[in-house]
């Protein structure tokens, strides 16, 4: 009876967003009289940082500093339609909608600036710091502040834009079932190292090493933060979390945080994250969705590591000590 070590690997291919009815998201962007910009959404930021990333996307598209953009994710009653933030779709779907809305707003902004500068809107560019000038002639310039004031008080125009992202719906081919469930995929590969106590069935995860391919990381620190948390969640799905441990029997299901198990700070594994960036063709600035994807590869990697350690395949989640022990008993009985 001893702690046995094992190592397992797994790789995944994960879709960004879904294909149900086209997966639409809409966004509205408008400027205040003083040239700050407001993005109105009904998409929710549940802590993953959607608001920050959307502010960056909007700012980059319009050509203003990120701090000038306020993102209102207030209300599904009043905001433009969004399917929601799930399915790793937020940055990609909402970001694409915001780019379109911001482009339309930028166009109006440049038209107003063109009238003020007596130039052609097509000849104007932004400096990213809050000014608009004629290409090649930086002295022929107007601030976005002045431009917004002029739009509001002189030209009677609304510097605003509407954005919509809709994936054309893909229907399965009748003969083959082939379809296009998603427009882009993120990828990940994980190597997990575990120790299994063959007397108690307990599993300790020693290390989890992940490589994530997520398109362009629009905010690298926040991406890293989400991937570290996701890696922990993957381990949690593999070994701890369930509301129905004896499904389909619902007895002994967790009712609160005392009974619903998750790895605590003392149970975490040494975790490594490597990010690969292969920009997606249709993502905002090349982004894909890392959200859900990042909590998946740890599960098969840990299951494989357990197999490597003690030679049993547990194919029901979570891999509790009880399930490991039962599998070990079955293995002995068969021997």
């Amino acid at each position: 009876m001893a702690w046995k070590r094992g190592r397992g690997v797994a790789a995944i291919n994960y879709p960004t967003g879904m294909n149900l009815g086209g997966d639409p998201t809409q966004a509205l962007v408008h400027s205040t009289p003083t040239g700050n910009f407001m993005v109105t959404l009904s998409s929710v930021d549940l802590g993953q940082g959607l608001r920050q990333v959307i502010a960056q996307i909007c700012a980059e598209t319009i050509g203003v500093p990120t701090e000038w953009v306020t993102v209102d994710t207030a209300d599904t009653d009043t905001g433009p339609h969004c399917m929601g933030t799930f399915a790793s779709r937020g940055t990609h779907r909402v970001g694409n909608a915001v780019i379109r809305a911001a482009q339309e707003a930028r166009q109006v902004m440049l038209e107003v600036a063109a009238e003020e500068l007596e130039a052609d809107a097509a000849d104007l560019e932004t400096d990213g710091k809050g000014n608009i000038h004629v290409k090649g002639a930086p002295s022929l310039s107007i601030s976005i502040f002045e431009t917004a004031l002029a739009a509001h008080f002189k030209h009677g125009r609304s510097i605003s834009g509407r954005g919509m992202f809709l994936v054309p719906r893909s229907y399965p081919e009748t003969e083959t079932g082939a379809m296009k469930p998603s427009t882009c995929y993120a990828h990940a590969c994980t190597v997990a190292e575990v120790e299994v106590d063959d007397e108690t069935g307990e599993v300790r995860v020693l290390s989890i090493k992940n490589v994530f391919e997520i398109g362009r990381a629009l905010n690298p620190k926040m991406v890293e933060q989400q991937l570290i948390g996701g890696s922990w969640m993957g381990m949690s799905h593999a070994l701890y979390e369930t509301t129905e441990p004896y499904y389909p029997v619902r007895d002994h299901g967790a009712r609160d945080f005392n009974e619903y198990l998750m790895p605590g700070p003392g149970d975490i594994a040494e975790t490594e994250i490597v990010v690969l960036e292969r920009p997606s063709g249709d993502g905002p600035f090349g982004a894909k969705g890392p959200g859900e994807m990042c909590a998946n590869p740890q599960i098969p990697a840990i299951a494989n590591a357990i197999y490597d350690a003690v030679g049993v395949r547990v194919d029901t989640l979570p891999i509790t000590p009880e399930r490991v022990l039962r599998a070990l008993r079955a293995q002995q009985a068969a021997a």
Binding site: L46, G47, Q48, G49, K221, M222, E224, Q225, Q226, I228, G229, G230, S231, W232, M233, D256, F257, N258, M262, G264, P265, G266, I268, T271
Partner: protein
């Protein structure tokens, strides 16, 4: 039901309220005194989101009757910064990206405050022990552990 008076120091100022007998410290802080930094995660003592410091002890405000705090010194995460200057723990949480949704953050910071007050140079194991009564659903704990260790380092540099 008859109301009872509770009076204690909250982050350095004298506060008093008439509350329903049986009110928890958590509900008095949040609903009567407007300090929403302690969060109501489970209201049954298992998540740590409501952690505050009462007379130097880490305390679950959801399990504490408000009246037992009479005359005591209550500190919450809202009282940590001085004006615009963040507490080293708050700064470290920011720099280490130790919050995502932020719901566990005030409780984590309270637990870490008590740790650092007692043990200015904690080991990684000390930090793990100190925050093990606090649940975080987002970060995987690693960034939080790093932040507390970083705050301890910056304190010892400052001292």
């Amino acid at each position: 039901m008859a109301k009872i008076a509770v009076q204690f120091t909250l982050n350095g100022s004298e506060r008093a309220e008439f509350v329903e007998s049986g009110s928890t410290l958590l509900s008095v802080l949040r609903d009567k005194m407007g300090d929403t930094s302690p969060k109501a995660g489970c209201r049954q003592g298992s998540c740590g989101a409501c952690s505050v410091i009462v007379d130097g002890e880490l305390t679950l405000a959801c399990l504490t009757l408000a009246e037992t705090s009479n005359g005591k010194d209550v500190r919450t995460a809202a009282g940590l910064s001085s004006g615009d200057v963040l507490h080293p723990l708050q700064r470290a949480f920011e720099e280490e990206f130790a919050a995502q949704c932020g719901f566990c953050t005030p409780g984590m910071i309270m637990a870490a405050t008590v740790l650092l007050e007692r043990n200015p140079n904690p080991s990684r194991e000390d930090v793990i022990e100190a925050i093990s009564g606090n649940i975080c659903r987002c970060t995987g704990y690693e960034p939080i552990i790093r932040a507390v260790l970083a705050a301890a380092r910056s304190n010892s540099v400052a001292a």
